[in-house]
């Protein structure tokens, strides 16, 4: 459980980036953290991970104030996955790469093996355990980054733009794994993303930031009902959501939407 209480933050002597934000993410939730470029969503996620510390207010992880902690202290509770997997690959095999975390924490080799095998299985990388990480495709490397965070068995995963730059199949593939983690293992997912379609399809809750302020905290169904003017917050309404609202039908994908349409009487054939 991660909670922010009246958190304020600014970089060095700069402009405030987070203004008095309070929100709470319970265990098992699937939250999309949204906002325009510079809205503060990445900063907020870093505050959750003790990569940054607030100027005022508190950040609590499982009820404990993390102001004196560093990210390594939280790694068992919260996993943070960065956007660029190339910047963290250290080892020569996928197995060793995922084992980095547990080994840093001085676990016994049996415990390490157990945790790594579980993490690889959860992200569909078991077959690649002996592969050299740099020969993996980009999508596989991204999943490797998630597996590496999972190896320490955190309750919560924070993912920064994890589907950016990938094609549709890879995006859906990654999201399917995350959905499985959330539904089968109860892992809390906090997804920072620009992709409205992904947020709409997979997340159940959305937190929207704008210029450092929290402007929306509610269900994705509510956010993407197709009637809100999301452009006010620097976001765009997913086209399927708009169309579904106009025709008063429900449809997550293009195909589902089309199924619900019928030709009007007298329409040109």
């Amino acid at each position: 459980m991660i909670e922010a209480k009246a958190v304020n933050f600014a970089y060095h002597r700069g402009e405030p980036v987070i203004n008095d934000i309070s929100c709470k993410v319970e265990n098992g939730e699937f939250v999309a953290l949204l906002g325009h470029n510079g809205s503060g969503k990445t900063t907020l996620s870093r505050l959750f991970m003790a990569l940054l510390h607030p100027r005022s207010g508190e950040v609590l992880v499982d009820g404990v104030n993390i102001e004196n902690l560093e990210p390594a202290d939280l790694a068992h509770q919260v996993g943070y996955v960065f956007q660029n997997p190339d910047l963290q690959i250290l080892e020569d095999t996928v197995f060793a790469e995922v084992a980095y975390g547990p080994r840093c924490k001085k676990k016994s080799e049996t415990a390490v093996k157990e945790q790594v095998d579980a993490a690889l299985e959860a992200m569909g990388l078991s077959d690649l355990a002996d592969a050299y990480p740099r020969t993996l495709s980009f999508g596989q490397k991204r999943r490797l980054g998630v597996a590496a965070a999972l190896a320490l068995s955190p309750q919560t995963l924070i993912l920064d733009e994890i589907t950016n730059g990938q094609d549709e199949q890879e995006k859906n593939n990654m999201m399917a794994y995350l959905e499985r983690l959330n539904q089968e293992k109860g892992i809390t997912i906090i997804l920072i993303t620009h992709d409205m379609n992904i947020a709409r399809e997979y997340a159940r809750r959305a937190i929207v930031l704008q210029n450092g302020d929290l402007v929306f905290d509610g269900t994705t169904a509510d956010l993407y009902d197709g009637k809100r003017e999301l452009s006010e917050w620097g976001l765009s309404q997913p086209i399927i959501a708009t169309l579904s609202a106009r025709f008063s039908v429900e449809g997550q994908t293009a195909a589902e939407f089309c199924e619900k349409l019928h030709l009007k009487e007298g329409a040109i054939g």
């Binding site: 325009h36 470029n37 495709s137 086209i239 089309c258 619900k260 019928h262 030709l263 329409a267």
Partner: protein
């Protein structure tokens, strides 16, 4: 578009220590077109881009067959730096393509290397920076520019040599949607103003829907569809694994056209689609 800007004839390519990544590619990119190259990851799109400037196969080496022609001439035997005067290439790791310390020096670099006189270099630098929306920034250090500005700087340095063709490989993969829209809008403006031929590799075709005249869809190293945007989209729609990469509006359009045996408009904007759909369809559960 009668003339061809870039032509691939029965082109095969395999990297030195790797598999064959392009199989019997036959592509015709018309002069003055705005062509999107799309397809799943690993389809060979980046390799195709690099072949347009002769990097493949001549700079990297490797096995190849067939021919690549740029503006009527084969790329064989040509220096990569000479070809890049006519075909400007922007790779997706744009940071590593910026080599100088200030904006002015970056734009001037290619020009100086090709022997342009200093006053010509100055004039072209000024023009190129103005064209991309960075007027008067010659003396700006690179770290004074944001990510989006750096990318526009790269575009300026590519434009300064006045190429006839622009090739961009996933230019917006690291950007937020607003930044992506802004870059493509700028690109389209330059395309129209200088009557260039533009080739863009892009996963998210939604960004290019207002601009694309033609499309080439690659899949596993082969050309799966090619032609005007309408033609290529229709061809790609027939292949289930390629369908998700099409813009949603067109997935809807092609789905409905097929199902109801009707013809719908070639929508480039959401408003056009909504208008036509509301005129012809109603929503409701299947009876």
């Amino acid at each position: 578009m009668n003339e061809t800007a870039i032509r691939f004839e029965n082109f095969y390519y395999g990297y030195i220590n790797g598999n064959v990544v392009l199989h019997n590619v036959n592509v015709d990119i018309g002069k003055g077109s705005f062509t999107v190259i799309s397809g799943p990851s690993g389809a060979g799109k980046t390799t195709l881009c690099k072949a347009m400037v002769g990097i493949i196969p001549y700079y990297y080496g490797g096995r190849y067959a067939g021919n690549v022609e740029v503006l009527g001439e084969t790329t064989k035997g040509k220096r990569v730096s000479d070809l890049s005067m006519r075909v400007g290439l922007m790779l997706d790791d744009y940071e590593s393509q910026l080599v100088s310390l200030t904006a002015g020096e970056e734009v001037a670099f290619g020009l100086l290397n090709h022997g342009f006189a200093p006053n010509e270099v100055e004039a072209r630098t000024k023009q190129a920076l103005a064209d991309v929306g960075l007027p008067g920034r010659e003396n700006y250090q690179l770290d004074e520019l944001s990510g989006g500005q750096r990318q526009r700087l790269l575009l300026a340095s590519v434009l300064a040599v006045h190429p006839e063709v622009l090739v961009l490989d996933e230019p917006v993969s690291a950007m937020d949607p607003d930044g992506a829209h802004a870059l493509y809008k700028l690109l389209y403006k330059i395309y129209q103003e200088y009557q260039m031929t533009v080739v863009v590799v892009e996963h998210n075709i939604n960004f290019l829907l207002p601009y694309a005249t033609n499309m080439v869809v690659m899949n596993k190293g082969k050309v799966a569809a090619q032609g005007t945007f309408e033609q290529a989209a229709a061809m790609a729609y027939e292949v289930p694994e390629l369908r998700p990469n099409l813009p949603e509006l067109w997935q809807i359009k092609l789905n409905l056209e097929k199902r109801f045996n009707i013809k719908l408009g070639a929508w480039r904007k959401a408003e056009d689609a909504i208008k036509e759909l509301q005129g012809k369809f109603v929503g409701g559960e299947l009876r």
